[in-house]
Amino acid sequence: MSVQDPWTVFREMMQSPRSKAGEWKSAVHGRVIGHLLPDVPEEILHASGALPVAVEGAGIHISRAQAHIPGYTCSHAMGALEMGLAGELNVLDGMVIPYVCDTTRNLFHIWDACFPQMQNEFLRLPKRIDHRAARDYLHAEFSRLFQWACSLTGRTPDLAALDASIKLYNQSRSKLREAYNKYHAQSPEWTAERINLLVASAMRAPREEHLKWMEALPWENDGQTAAKETTRVYVRGKVWDPPGILDLMDGFGFIVMSDEIVTGFRGIQVDAAEEGDPLKALVNRHCAMTPYAGYHTDPAEAPKNFVRRVKDSGAQGVIFLNPKFCEAAGFDTPDFQKALTAENMPSLILETSARGVSIDQVRLRLEAFREMLAEDLP
């Protein structure tokens, strides 16, 4: 780790997360469990003694995956499969794919057929997250996941270990929220791109070490970066896609006030209770998170709640990062956008992961959106 640049360790982590996982694996003789986003409880995998490693497929160049899954699949799923087929995920002993949509449901079976050497598990996330019976189901499902992960690591499921993992992840999230505060305060060096670097690397590194690495960050940098016109936005989507979008947004002076990105603020916003049944605490945390498009909530309330979240964030406008071929986001967006328009809140829909759409097109549209927000139209 460079003394001069405390961000390097995070960058290195993101440059080769799998080889870092491999180093961890040989050092501690542990098991590495991959998980596809969103909402796989990392605490459970951690408490089983495994290293949880997020697998993100967006932005991966596709060449092999098309022989196994059709091209009209979102790049999140296709990219993950591509990485596996290219041998980039050989370090994984197991893989957890959550039930988010038809695509992840199919991907699980395709994955299992393509990678029989891995232990693969399907996490059956209930869709009615505001239903009492869904909580009971999720509790049973988390407990099943714990058993499964422990069978992989050879440990006995231990609730005390889960308590400890919850504490660790809460600490990590709390530190990441502090990082967001620095970013919102526009402290020098704390850009959106760097915050994402912290969150993304946290989902791949041993969390204990990651927490230590974060200590070395320039927390003392107070005050604001050189006065620059800023535009406050709220972002809805799955992941930061296309890769590089946060760099662009930083460059244009966008400040992401809040987001519903599974690897963004949404993922670190809520902690799990540290008392009582730890599985129940994780269920409560899961249900308290901003619902991702793949879940079902009261249809009449969903757009209203969305508008309320946007307004509470203090944003001037909203950016939808809609993954191409994603049915969940595709059906929500028109009504959500309509609800924003009714409240005079401008928005921009960017279809992401569209193979063939260049970052330059994204740049142009972001720039135009910033201009529009700046114009203060009636």
């Binding site: 022989a67 196994h68 899954i69 059709p70 009209y72 699949t73 039930y99 949509c101 038809d102 695509t103 449901r105 199919n106 991907l107 699980f108 079976h109 395709i110 299992d112 057929a113 598990e121 399907f122 059956r124 209930p126 869709k127 009615r128 239903h131 019976a133 869904a134 009971d136 189901y137 049973a140 499902e141 498009a293 793949g294 079902h296 249809p299 009449a300 969903a302 757009p303 809609n322 191409k324 071929f325 049915e327 969940a328 595709g330 059906f331 929500d332 967006t333 028109p334 009504d335 956008q337 279809e351």
Partner: protein
């Protein structure tokens, strides 16, 4: 090809069904929009008419109206990558163009996601549009296919809740005798439909999958009624007579084929004639079989529905492959036509793996056709025909 007489009844059956639905209010009946894996017998027993927006979209597609109405949905912001049934339905609402005089407004939107996740999102849109309540029967997918006792409790709780919701909407308690009667009729229709599908095992097959697709409407929408029973009784009798006399749906049956996935509705007739001319007979399909498995017992229907939604409807790759292999043997198949359906990711994304496994395990070749069930802008029929031609030549060369 000698047309099947019983199919002539379908026009009137459809007119009566949609007419009855439009007159629901006057007749003290209610309307629920539903999908395949919902307990329609329960609805019929409570004077709730089940309406399938998917079926509405089928009629739009078959009448070749889909291009115009889906373009309207795209204008509303619904991307061309989304299910074309949903786009047709939403576009039809927007434009008012509909072969069924539109659909009556729903009192309830009832959905089970053991079918697909798309329907949940589509029905959420409809729920907002009509300001109607929505109830999702959330069915956890079966993963490795292992028993899921917690899932059984979860699904059953939601079915119990559905009864309360229906009692509230209709203002009356569930009449167990009426439920039993609807279940009995549903079972009878399912058994008759099974007979229709099994007739395809004969050589030559007396009915092709094209005609099965056309004759599906009553088993989908009206199982639990006498209408469905009467229709399938007539149909299965006629098919039996054809079998007895050795009459095939395809005059010169050379290749016995399986059709995977939904039909390409706008091309149903054209593809049917195209295959017929070449001796290609589509003798069976998993899609039509799905409706033969939806009946429940009178004793404990809630448990039966629960198990059905969790373990039967909830197809996963391994089970699907086993089913196909069994069907291949029973129907003496020569080849598989897999419709890789852009609009229905749910039943299409694993097709490359299905084909690989089937060919490896049975030696039966398959052709993947990239198309769409309702949107003709997403394929070219000439290219599909030429691919089928080449495939039939390959099958002929294997003889």
């Amino acid at each position: 090809m000698q047309p099947i007489e019983a199919l002539k009844q379908l026009k009137q059956i459809n007119i009566d069904y949609y007419g009855g639905a439009h007159a629901a209010r006057q007749n003290n009946k209610f309307i629920a929009y539903v999908n395949a894996f919902t307990p329609v017998e329960l609805l019929y027993a409570m004077d709730v008419i089940p309406i399938y927006p998917e079926n509405h979209a089928v009629i739009i597609g078959a009448r070749k109206m889909s291009t115009e109405v889906s373009a309207a949905a795209e204008g509303m912001g619904y991307s061309m990558d989304l299910c074309s049934y949903a786009r047709c339905d939403l576009g039809s609402i927007k434009t008012g163009l509909s072969p069924t005089w539109g659909l009556p407004k729903p009192d309830l939107l009832l959905i089970s996601n053991s079918q697909c996740g798309t329907l949940t999102k589509w029905f959420e849109v409809l729920s907002r549009l009509y300001d109607a309540p929505m109830l999702l029967i959330d069915v956890p997918h079966s993963g490795h296919g292992e028993p899921d006792p917690a899932g059984e409790r979860y699904v059953r709780t939601q079915l119990e809740e559905l009864i309360l919701v229906l009692e509230k909407i209709t203002g009356k308690p569930l009449d167990q005798n009426r439920l039993k009667e609807a279940i009995r009729l549903s079972k009878e229709a399912s058994d008759l439909w099974t007979r229709v599908l099994e007739s395809g095992m004969h050589r030559p097959a007396p009915i092709t999958v094209f005609d099965q697709f056309i004759s599906m409407a009553p088993i989908v929408a009206q199982r639990g009624t006498q209408v469905a029973v009467d229709f399938y009784r007539d149909l299965s009798r006629e098919l039996q007579a054809r079998v007895d006399r050795g009459i095939g749906a395809c005059e010169n049956e050379r290749f016995r084929l399986f059709w995977d996935n939904l039909p390409i509705w706008p091309e149903l007739r054209r593809l049917s004639l195209f295959l017929e001319e070449r001796g290609g007979s589509l003798v069976t399909s998993l899609y039509t079989w799905a409706w033969a498995r939806l009946s429940v017992g009178e004793e404990d229907p809630l448990t039966d529905w629960t198990n059905q939604y969790l373990y039967l409807a909830n197809l996963h790759l391994g089970k699907r492959i086993d089913d196909y292999l069994e069907i291949a043997e029973k129907y003496q198949l020569d080849g598989f036509l897999y419709h890789s359906n852009r609009s229905c990711k749910f039943v299409s994304q694993d097709i490359p793996e299905v084909r690989r496994a089937i060919t490896e395990r049975s030696g039966i070749p398959g052709l993947i056709l990239e198309a769409d069930h309702n949107d003709p802008r997403l394929y070219t029929i000439e290219s599909l025909e030429s691919q089928i031609d080449n495939f039939l030549e390959l099958l002929a060369s294997r003889r």
